[in-house]
């Protein structure tokens, strides 16, 4: 677990504020972002960002609108090319590797993907096999098994022959997740996978993602809007504001009243839900 500045002060009464975690506490790192500056056009949205994504954990990025959390995810996913800095995946720079090689190791669930009219669910999920195929090796037994497995864990096997545009929002989102899972990568990036879904469906989607990730030992990086959903599922919580990372670490040490005020300008009480072992926030209504 990465220690944060505040935690060091509290636990060890140390006056210096080291930003680098102790080597002993360091976990294997699935994705390493170093001195990243990126954005659209001339004005950078991300300013000199450093981030290590711990392997096998669920890292959730939160922050107010325009804080750069989606930009960070998109730069990690090589959709945006940074003006400075690197994103290292298994020791290689994702912006310099052949894009297919990246896709063999890292999947992306983009925000608001388009469901082509008439495309069947099975055909959609099969698209996830693209990075593992070539002109000579078109469709193998492994491909079929990966697609069948992905449809089974996301519980969409019964829709396999239906067109994707005939499904509900939640069902459709499970199809996109299945496509990313069929890619069979250790690392999956997800850009707001719960936006525009009912709360119940949001929870279903997050349960599905976290359970599958834990069982298959996958690393997830998720951009989320809903603070309490983020607090409920994150192993590693990253709070961003103004293109910089303000706080990061275990949920219980990061999801504090002070941080919520500093990052979101939100006046809220943070309550510990003993049953879940997680904090939740309640905005102060008259305050």
């Amino acid at each position: 677990m990465a220690h944060t500045a505040t935690e060091w002060v509290e636990n060890d009464k140390v006056k210096v504020l080291p930003l680098v975690p102790q080597p002993a506490a360091e976990k294997a790192c699935a994705l390493r972002v170093q001195r990243l500056t990126a954005g659209y056009g001339d004005s950078p949205i991300l300013k000199d960002i450093d981030l290590e994504v711990p392997e096998g954990e669920i890292t959730i990025l939160v922050g107010p609108n325009g804080c750069g959390k989606s930009t960070l995810l998109k730069t990690m996913a090589r959709i945006i090319t940074p003006s400075h800095g690197t994103v290292m995946l298994n020791g290689q720079n994702v912006h310099q590797m052949p894009t297919r090689h990246v896709a063999q190791q890292m999947a992306l669930l983009a925000q608001g993907p388009i469901a082509p009219e008439g495309l069947k669910v099975r055909e959609l999920v099969a698209q996830g096999r693209f990075p593992h195929q070539s002109l000579l090796k078109q469709w193998t037994k492994e491909d079929r098994e990966a697609v069948d497995w992905a449809m089974e864990v996301t519980n969409i096997a019964q829709f396999a022959e239906r067109p994707i545009d005939a499904l509900s929002g939640g069902q459709r989102q499970r199809c996109w997740i299945a496509m990313a899972l069929a890619q069979e990568t250790d690392l999956v990036l997800l850009d707001e996978p719960t936006t525009f879904l009912d709360l119940k469906v949001q929870v279903d989607v997050m349960n599905l993602l976290t359970q599958t990730a834990n069982e298959a030992g996958k690393t997830l990086v998720i951009v989320l809007h809903e603070l309490n959903i983020a607090a409920a599922y994150a192993d590693n919580l990253v709070m961003m504001r103004g293109g910089e990372i303000v706080a990061q670490g275990a949920v219980n040490s990061i999801f504090t009243r002070e941080n919520l005020r500093a990052v979101f300008g939100l006046d809220a009480r943070v309550i510990f839900d003993a049953e879940a072992g997680r904090p939740i926030c309640m905005p102060n209504l008259n305050g």
Binding site: A77, T99, L108, G118
Partner: protein, 331 residues
């Protein structure tokens, strides 16, 4: 999987049989009707001593071949354009490529005469590319950006403008353009077989590029970000698609003049049978496009026989109502 493969073979065989039938029917019709059986005999076992065999091979088959090639080229162009731009109303005619290619050929012919023949596909490609760029630029500058409707309006404006310029040039130099007049309405004629050799490299390049990008276009239809996430080299796919569209359209225009609506109609019809996966949409567009233009060219010759209607008029007569239906259904 095996069942699907068998089903695929069946579908493919049916399509191949339809093409063979239309091909033979196309050849059998003419000033002197030749029975379809004799056409097949001539095609399979050519006998130089039989007069009908010579008619089949030397006079009629070139026209049928051109119809097939042009139909396939325009249909595949339309399929690629619709897939890449996620625009159901994309078509080489509607977006101004046919007008651009025709205009370039007319200008080239006016400047250099028949010396331009060997590079005619290249000249047509330049015209198609310039018109496409202009249409895209106008649509992008319009309020709301390059949407299906703004693209079509820009395409219509450019096509109308270029047609007017062509008409004016024609009036000024009637003698020279008498030969181009018929070609400009979209005509399939065995005489153009001389051009086939100059078009073959471009057709080969276009069809190969189209097949190479077919699989990636399905991913691209889900959005650029999804495609990048799947490891698709988006820029490369777009460039290859543009190369395919421009060289196929240019070859089609060189061989038969501007034939409208084929690129629009065929991919939509194909999707009804094979779905949205471009691994199937692209090759089946080629097959169905070939069969369709053979059929249209048969209609053009028998509808008002012995008068022959220009093939381009028939593709428009059939295509325009479909376009209206498509606008009502998809916009």
């Amino acid at each position: 999987m095996i069942l699907r493969r068998v089903g695929e073979m069946g579908r493919f065989s049916v399509m191949a049989a339809v093409i063979a039938l239309f091909f033979a029917l196309h050849i059998s019709i003419g000033a002197k009707a030749i029975p379809v059986v004799d056409v097949f005999t001539a095609l399979i076992a050519r006998d130089e001593t039989v007069f009908d065999h010579i008619v089949v091979w030397d006079l009629r088959m070139p026209r049928a071949l051109i119809a097939m090639v042009v139909g396939a080229a325009l249909a595949v162009s339309g399929a690629l354009m619709q897939g890449i731009t996620r625009n159901p109303l994309a078509d080489p005619g509607l977006l101004g490529l046919l007008a651009g290619a025709s205009f370039a050929v007319v200008v080239g012919y006016g400047l250099w005469g028949s010396a331009i023949v060997p590079i005619m596909p290249l000249v047509a490609a330049g015209g198609a590319l310039a018109a496409a760029a202009l249409v895209f630029w106008i649509a992008t500058a319009a309020p709301g950006g390059a949407r299906p409707l703004t693209l079509i309006l820009a395409g219509a404006a450019i096509s109308a403008f270029l047609s007017a310029v062509i008409a004016a040039v024609q009036l000024l130099d009637q003698e020279n353009f008498e030969q181009l007049r018929v070609w400009l309405t979209g005509t399939i004629s065995g005489n153009r077989m001389d051009y086939m050799g100059w078009c073959l490299p471009w057709l080969g390049l276009g069809f190969l590029a189209a097949l190479a990008v077919a699989r990636q276009i399905t991913s691209l239809a889900m959005g650029d970000e999804v495609a990048i996430g799947l490891g698709v080299n988006v820029a490369q796919v777009k460039v290859l698609s543009l190369v395919a569209v421009v060289s196929l359209t240019a070859s089609a225009v060189t061989l038969s003049g501007p034939l409208g609506f084929i690129g629009l109609v065929i991919p939509h019809a194909v999707r009804l049978f094979v779905g949205t996966d471009y691994r199937f949409v692209v090759p089946y567009s080629a097959l169905v496009g070939a069969a369709y233009l053979l059929f249209v060219d048969i209609v053009a010759r028998v509808a008002l026989a012995p008068i022959e209607i220009s093939t381009g008029l028939v593709t428009s007569l059939l295509g325009a109502p479909f376009f209206v239906w498509l606008v009502r259904a998809k916009l």
